[in-house]
Structures are given as structure tokens and as C-alpha cells.
Amino acid sequence: MVLPDQVLFAMEAALNGLLSGVMYALVALGFVLIFKASGIFNYAQGVMALFAALTLVGIQQGQVPFADLINLIPGVEVHSFGWTVPSVLAIVLTGLVMIGMALIIEALILKHLVNQPPIILFMATIGLAYFLEGLGDTMWGADIKTMDVGLPQGMSGTIDNVTNAWFGYGFYVDQLNIVATVVAAVLVALLMLFSQYSKQGRALRAVADDHQAALSVGISLRFIWVLVWSIAGFVALVAGIMWGARSGVQFSLSLIALKALPVLMLGGFTSIPGAIVGGLIIGIGEQLFEFWVGPLVGGATENWFAYVLALVFLVFRPQGLFGEKIIERV
């Protein structure tokens, strides 16, 4: 099949956009989960991803947590336990740390803020974000780390060969993006199964729908909150692994949260499918926009395209693509 070069390039761009859209969706998913279950916009979601990535790398490389603090004690000088932990075990351990974090957040913050207005809870998550950021640095050090959990990286040979055979032009697609897509799909499928078919999933949906009614059927809100924050922590961990493997584990990782915002505006704050579709639209949209319009305006449209698109959406469909319709009741 012979297609014009322009079309082929656009297709390649769209494919790559699709795959990075999955990454956006992954982060947005964490927001949606917590927002649905507790009505809290969790500003700290991005930092949670950073924290999870830092912890994972730290555990994997046998770093001693709080080494800098410990080293303040005169005569003590520790940096590493001297062992490395296998990736899988490190991921499991990090998962446990995230669950522990959920427990602590519930006990120290949420429990005391029951029935407070959303803005107070939002402020609390901002505080949480700064605290976690500092905690991450203190625990594991502020230097840039590389994440290596054995995920394949670099150009996918298969796609290159296949597209070459089809179109006479090999697409460049990063293998990591493909892995991310598969992982995200599995994750979403698991979450859906969990929320539709398990006892806790049903309780979770109940709480998301009506707190008072949930209490009256014997659902403990605190348990559900710990559960939700644990899941959000786990999603953050997955996002942290993917983004960390892509661009290194450093402070800027927490800024991926900012990419998730337009995704949420597009997809709606309460819809899991919305987060996924929103992520994909933004991923593809910004690649194609850069490809066609970028050269005319001097490039770097990726920095702002998503926000402008979200803004347009805010004007015409404030509840997002899949969000519940907002009806003002008089």
C-alpha cells in the first residue's frame, strides 16, 4: 500500500500520541477514583506518583531511608544496605508502603475533616502534596534517579518491520509506551471487575453515591477511604513506574499531575471511561496538532494545546464527555 508521506507521518504521530495518552489517562485515573468515592480533588496525586517512584527505586537499590538525617548523627555514615532487591519484590514492597500511607492519611487527616467543605479538603491535599514532596526528598535524597524495573525500552522492532512491510515506511514507536498501554488496560479491567463484582467494590460505589445511605447499611466510611487511597496509591505507583522509566525519577515527575487536569476536564471528574478516553484524545490531539500546526507557529504547542482544548470543553460541555450532567436545582 502506498500512502503519501504526510499521511504516514501523521499516522505515526497519532499512534505515538495514542500511547502517551494512555500515560495521561493513568494519572487521571487516580484523581477520578478518589474524587468519585470521597468528593475530594486530590492535589497530591502527582506527588504520590513521584513518591511511589522514589520509594521503588530506593528499595530496589537498597538505599537506607532517611540516610541524610541519620548521617547527621556524628560518627554515623550510612548510604546503602549493600543489597539490591529484585524488581517484583520491590514493587510489592512499595505497594505496601502506599497502603501504609493511605492508612496514615486517613488517620491523620481525613478522619478529622469529616463533613468539612470540599475546599478545606482540597487545601489539605495541597498540604499533603508539599509534605510528601519533602518526605520523599528526605527519605531518599534529592538527586535524579533512573528507574529500571526491566521494562523494555527503545524502538519497537516489530512495529517498525510490520509498518515497513505495509507502507514502505517504518514507524518509530517506543516499546515502553506499548507496555504502558497493556498495563493500563489490565489495570482498568481489574478496577472495573473489582468495582462491579466484589463486595468491597459494591460498597465503594455505594459510598460514592450517598454517604448517609452507605452508613445505614453498615459500610464503614473510614475503611472505604483507606481502600480508595490505597488503590489511588497503587495507581500512582504504576504511573510512577511508567513515567519514571520514561523520563527519570525527579521532581518534575510530580508535574504530570498538571497534564492530568485537562484530561479530567475533558472526560469528567467522575468517570473512569472518561479519564481513559480523555487521555487518549489529548494524547492524539496534541501530537497531530504539533505535526500540522506546530511548524506554522514555531513549535512547542504540546505545552499549551491540552489546556486550550480543555478550556474549549469547559465552555461547551462543563460536565465533560462522560461526567454527570450538572443541573442547577432551584
Binding site: R202, D209, D210, A213, L215, V217, G218, I219
Partner: protein, 273 residues
């Protein structure tokens, strides 16, 4: 008086009423400086339909919320099954076998009728998070068993045709029925109904009365209900507590209560001095 029969009594239509299931002793509830309930004591016996009535603002809903754990009284004791109950969260109260409905209906609007009623059985599901993942088959068998119980309730309340309908789309009267179904799904020892007939037309009220009587008759469920419409309550209940301005002004069978001068005054609006 009735309290002289610790073993219970037999009603006019031949139902056996058992011993005391729940007892409120000298309950006082304050919001800030305002007393919502002042020193109220009464009991609820096993198998009985017990009503709490009173004009608007009498503190009936507060009393129901004390029983269901949504409010914790400053003074007084709550005894359940012969044991003093420590202050509890609402979900803990629910797990003790006390189910309730709400005056303003608290259902999960986004879920189907079936799913709503299934949530009523959450506390009875044993399989945990991990065993659910590991032993899918066993979890399914348990689900089937609960589903069967729920289907019996659906049949009982005649809501088969809306089984799969999202609750948000139902009219008011049916929502009330679904809420009752969800409470029943928990197989409660004590069922609390907060103004079950509020906002209903005559026909819906008759339906609801019939369901309440049938629930009591078929499942032997003890029922405590709040209502400000005196007419309905008098036909339904075995014994009635009357509240006014947070105080108990009467307690007894519907006939006794009807003859009580303080009750008559409260309902006719005689000035309090």
C-alpha cells in the same frame, strides 16, 4: 402496665410479643445549648410495631437518629439485647442488626434497584477481598445465596418489574419501597422507619401500611416507626410513644394514647405555659 409483663404479651389479633429488645433510659440529647430530647425512657419489645409520634419538631427524628447511632446522646443509656450499648458509629449499629430508612430517602441513585438492595446484605457477606480474588467460585456461590434472599424480598414487595431500573429514575413512592427492601435485605432484628408515609397519596399510604404489617407478620421483624400522621399510626402500631417539645408526654396502646389529655392538647395545639 405492660412493663409488668417481662415475658411479653399477646395482642388483640393473636400475635405473641416477646421481651424487651431495646430500651432507652433517660436519654437527653443537646445540640449546643438546645435540648432536642429531654430525659426520655421507653422500650421496644421483640415482634412489636412501636410508633413514635408527635407534632413537627417534637424530636422524633432525633430519637431515631440516637437509636441508629447517627447522634450520640449526652446523657442516658441505650440497652440492646439486655446489654448496655457503648457509643457507636452508625455502621457499627447497622452491623448489630438495626436497619433503617430515611425521611428524605437515601438510596444509591446511580445503581439499579437490585444493586441497591444487595448493598443491604454487604455486612453479611463473609468472603474477604483476597479470598474473593483467589476463590472466585466460592465468592460466586455466596453471591448467589445472597441474591436469592434479595429476590424473595423483591417478590415480597412486588417490585419485580423494576429490578434492573436505576433508582434515580423511579417515582417517589417506589423509591420508598426500594429503601424498605434494602433495609429488609439486612434481615434486621430491629427495623427503623423514618416517616415511611411522608409525601404519599392515600393509595400509596395504604400499600405501605400493608407492607409494614406484612413484614412484621411474615418475618417477625420488630419495627419502630416515626410518623406525624396520627391516623395511620394508630391502625398500625401495638404501642405508641408520644413526644412533644423533646419530652415524652404519653406511652401506651393506641387507645390509651388517644384518651390521654396531654396528647390531645399537644395535637390540638394548646399553648404551653
Amino acid at each position: 402496665m405492660l412493663d409488668a409483663n417481662p415475658e411479653g404479651y399477646t395482642t388483640a389479633d393473636g400475635r405473641k410479643i416477646g421481651g424487651v429488645l431495646m430500651e432507652m433510659r433517660n436519654i437527653t440529647l443537646r445540640f449546643g445549648g438546645v435540648k432536642a430530647i429531654t430525659d426520655i425512657s421507653f422500650d421496644i419489645r421483640e415482634g412489636e410495631i412501636r410508633a413514635i409520634i408527635g407534632p413537627n419538631g417534637a424530636g422524633k427524628s432525633s430519637m431515631l437518629n440516637v437509636i441508629s447511632g447517627f447522634y450520640v446522646p449526652q446523657e442516658g443509656e441505650v440497652w440492646f439485647h439486655g446489654q448496655r450499648r457503648a457509643p457507636m458509629k452508625p455502621y457499627e449499629v447497622a452491623r448489630q442488626g438495626i436497619a433503617r430508612t430515611f425521611q428524605n430517602i437515601a438510596l444509591f441513585d446511580g445503581m439499579s434497584v437490585l444493586d441497591n438492595i444487595m448493598t443491604g446484605r454487604l455486612t453479611m457477606m463473609k468472603t474477604g477481598l483476597f479470598s474473593q480474588a483467589l476463590w472466585w467460585g466460592r465468592a460466586q456461590a455466596e453471591e448467589t445465596e445472597h441474591r436469592e434472599k434479595v429476590e424473595r424480598i423483591i417478590d415480597f414487595l412486588e417490585i419485580q418489574s423494576i429490578r434492573k431500573t436505576p433508582v434515580g429514575r423511579l417515582p417517589y413512592g417506589l423509591k420508598k419501597r426500594v429503601e424498605l427492601a434494602r433495609a429488609l435485605a439486612a434481615e434486621p432484628k430491629l427495623l427503623l422507619l423514618d416517616e415511611p408515609m411522608a409525601g404519599m397519596n392515600v393509595e400509596e399510604k395504604e400499600d405501605m401500611s400493608r407492607f409494614i404489617l406484612d413484614v412484621n407478620d411474615e418475618f417477625g421483624t420488630t419495627i419502630a416507626l416515626i410518623e406525624h400522621d396520627m391516623g395511620v399510626v394508630m391502625d398500625l402500631s401495638d404501642r405508641v410513644v408520644v413526644m412533644d417539645y423533646g419530652k415524652k408526654i404519653g406511652d401506651g396502646t393506641p387507645d390509651e394514647v388517644r384518651a390521654n389529655q396531654a396528647v390531645i392538647d399537644a395535637y390540638l395545639g394548646v399553648a404551653h405555659d
